[in-house]
């Protein structure tokens, strides 16, 4: 691999081309203006000194940023990239044989170190999702792709643990080979060695794992954002644009335009500000739904204010139904464009007030057969243990007051006392 370095880069970056693992060596070579091979050899030699090279490499990886701008187009890579790790292992083995001229115990140890190196390499490669994806894309053999490609997190964890076990086995093996004494101390030493080795791997892979995690998280966030945007676009398309089209067609019909605009405003407001609550479960949501129905049916505005909230039950549902009837009456008879609906949930009672400033009527003159008031409002409230008052004077408007005492805090409903 050659290094065609741009002359004197101002900062040290990790190279994204000509790299084996993370581009540390290539980046360093570029920065120092020397051959990348020399840097790699230096790392390999340092590796012999209790893994110093590995640690150094990891440290560089952690602190040196990749070259900005290059990350968008990472070079394609293939299985050959695994070779360096095999090479590292073989190199250490060769070093053992040549330098110490021993094939016995030390030779076995060399093999074990080689296993460690490969294990660490596997872990290392598992830890950079971007590279893994490229592998999956460039993989010619499907089953190999299945092994190397990141399909799901469980497979990733499994492979990671596999690599870790490989490393641990290697280290324990080294300890066992070097101290063949069959006593407790030796086993203890072996375990300590293994732990130290694992800690080392942890130090090496920690930053990588951290980065992986961040990448996954930001990917998920981006996906959620995209989803929300799509939802918003769909809502605007389905509702707002259609409403605007209808308004353009009905421009001459003021009532229709107002009704459409009001309905659209309400739905946008709910979408923007209100946590969705089910009208079958919550009092406020049920009341607002009733008000919305009346608004749409009679083309009036219902100014709804609800203070507090609670779960609905049969009695509260009756109050909502009575309030709806009162709203319908106001919309039908009062000849107004706006009706106020105020409801309040207190610990001992639920109340609702429906008020209009319309023409009003004399409550005493309401005939007995008029079910709207007597049956649907007063009678219904009475049946459920509440009461309804109607105050109205001709010319002064009407107010319907619905009061329902409740016991306890929640859904305990005493019926028909």
């Amino acid at each position: 691999m050659s290094s065609t370095a741009t002359p004197h880069p101002p900062r040290l970056y990790r190279a994204t081309e000509h790299r084996l693992a993370a581009g540390v060596a290539a980046g360093l070579a570029e920065h120092l203006g020397i051959s990348v091979l020399r840097v790699r050899v230096a790392f390999m030699v340092l590796l012999g000194l209790s893994g110093l090279g590995l640690l150094l490499y990891a440290a560089f990886w952690a602190v040196v940023p990749p070259r900005p701008g290059d990350t968008a187009v990472p070079p394609r890579r293939d299985v050959a990239q695994l070779l360096p790790f095999v090479a590292i292992g073989l190199g250490v083995l060769l070093l053992q044989v040549v330098a110490f001229d021993s094939v016995g115990a030390a030779g076995t140890a060399g093999w074990l170190v080689a296993i460690i190196a490969v294990g660490a390499g596997v872990i290392w490669h598992q830890s950079a999702p971007e590279r893994r994806r490229q592998w999956g894309g460039s993989m010619a053999v499907p089953w190999l792709g299945a092994v190397v490609e990141e399909s799901d997190r469980r497979a990733f964890v499994l492979r990671f643990i596999g690599g870790g076990v490989l490393v641990a086995v290697g280290i324990i093996g080294v300890a066992a080979v070097y101290s063949p004494a069959q006593n407790f101390d030796a086993v203890l030493n072996g375990i300590i060695f293994a732990l130290v080795g694992l800690a080392g791997v942890g130090v090496v892979t920690g930053p990588v794992l951290w980065r992986t995690w961040n990448q996954l998280r930001s990917e998920r966030e981006a996906r959620i954002r995209e989803q929300e945007r799509a939802e918003l676009a769909a809502m605007v398309h389905d509702q707002v644009l259609h409403t605007l089209a209808l308004i353009q067609r009905n421009a001459a019909d003021v009532k229709t335009v107002q009704r459409l605009a009001r309905g659209q405003e309400r739905s946008l407001r709910n979408w923007l500000y209100k946590p969705a609550a089910s009208p079958t479960e919550r009092f406020a949501a049920a009341l607002e739904q009733a008000a919305a129905e009346v608004e749409d049916t009679f083309a009036i505005t219902v100014e709804t204010v609800v203070v507090g909230d609670r779960e609905t039950d049969e009695r509260v549902g009756a109050l909502v139904a009575a309030a709806r009837e009162a709203l319908v009456n106001a919309a039908r008879h009062a000849e107004v464009r706006t009706v106020s609906l105020y409801a309040e949930v207190e610990p001992e009672q639920v109340s609702a007030f429906i008020r209009d400033r319309g023409k009003g009527f004399d409550p005493d003159t309401v005939e007995d057969h008029r079910h709207g008031v007597r049956g649907s409002i007063i009678g219904r409230m009475k049946r459920h243990g509440g009461r309804a008052e109607i105050r109205s004077e001709p010319g002064e408007g009407t107010e319907v007051r619905l009061i329902l005492p409740i016991s306890g805090s929640g859904s305990t409903a005493e019926r028909d006392r």
Partner: protein, 226 residues
């Protein structure tokens, strides 16, 4: 602190109130100007916070109609920049949003009232006049938010009970406001004078501005508003 009761000198000088518009939508400013033109004197407009701050200081209007959401900080930034240096200028929030945190946020920053953009021109003129006279403008919705804010924490630790709690009378007045009563109807209903109603409402507004931030943010958080 904000000036409370009616202040002499803030009243209209030549019968026509001087009104300033702050809104980032030019179309909306033009619409309001056209609707209000005959009733009040619109002395200026601004579309950004910075522009608003400098021009309001120069114009000294009686009432500023203030939008809540603007790209560079919104009505709250204008209020925070102006209220100490120009206590005689009244602010009336005029917004398309009636979300609780917007309404209460603006009131706490020192706005004298809050109305939504669907208000009719007559009602808006009336609201401007009331704000200029030193009153507060409470929409039923705003009254509902205040009741909610003060009612939802009976056991909360209160630093100054006198300040942070609503009296029964104030609560009654707010309830009637929320039920859609006008000030004079409230006065008749409770057998008090209109002036007393206005005093109660002003006191509620002051308490809202002064009750501590922690409580309010908790209230908002409880309702998943923030």
């Amino acid at each position: 602190m904000v000036e409370q009761g009616p202040v002499e000198g803030a009243a209209p000088r030549d019968g026509r109130l001087r009104v300033f518009l702050v809104d980032d939508h030019a179309m909306f400013r033009a619409g309001v100007r056209a609707e209000l033109g005959a009733r009040v004197e619109v002395v200026g407009e601004a579309s950004t916070v910075a522009e608003a701050v400098s021009r309001i200081a120069a114009m000294q209007p009686d009432v500023v109609l203030l939008d809540v959401h603007m790209p560079d900080g919104g009505g709250r930034a204008v209020l925070e920049a102006m209220r100490r240096t120009h206590p005689q200028v009244r602010f009336l929030a005029l917004s398309v949003s009636d979300a609780a945190e917007d309404v209460i946020g603006l009131i706490r920053a020192g706005a004298r009232g809050y109305v939504t953009k669907t208000i009719s021109p007559e009602e808006l003129t009336d609201a401007i006049r009331r704000v200029a006279d030193g009153d507060a403008v409470f929409s039923p919705r705003l009254a509902g938010f205040v009741l909610d804010a003060f009612a939802a924490r009976p056991d909360a630790p209160v630093a100054d009970p006198e300040l942070d709690q609503l009296t029964n009378r104030e609560r009654e007045v707010l309830r009637l406001l929320a039920r859609g009563y006008a000030y004079k109807e409230i006065a008749r209903e409770l057998y008090i004078s209109i002036k007393t109603v206005e005093t109660h409402v002003s006191n509620v507004l002051r308490k809202l501005q002064m009750s501590n931030r922690y409580e309010l943010s908790r209230w908002a958080a409880d309702r998943r508003l923030v």
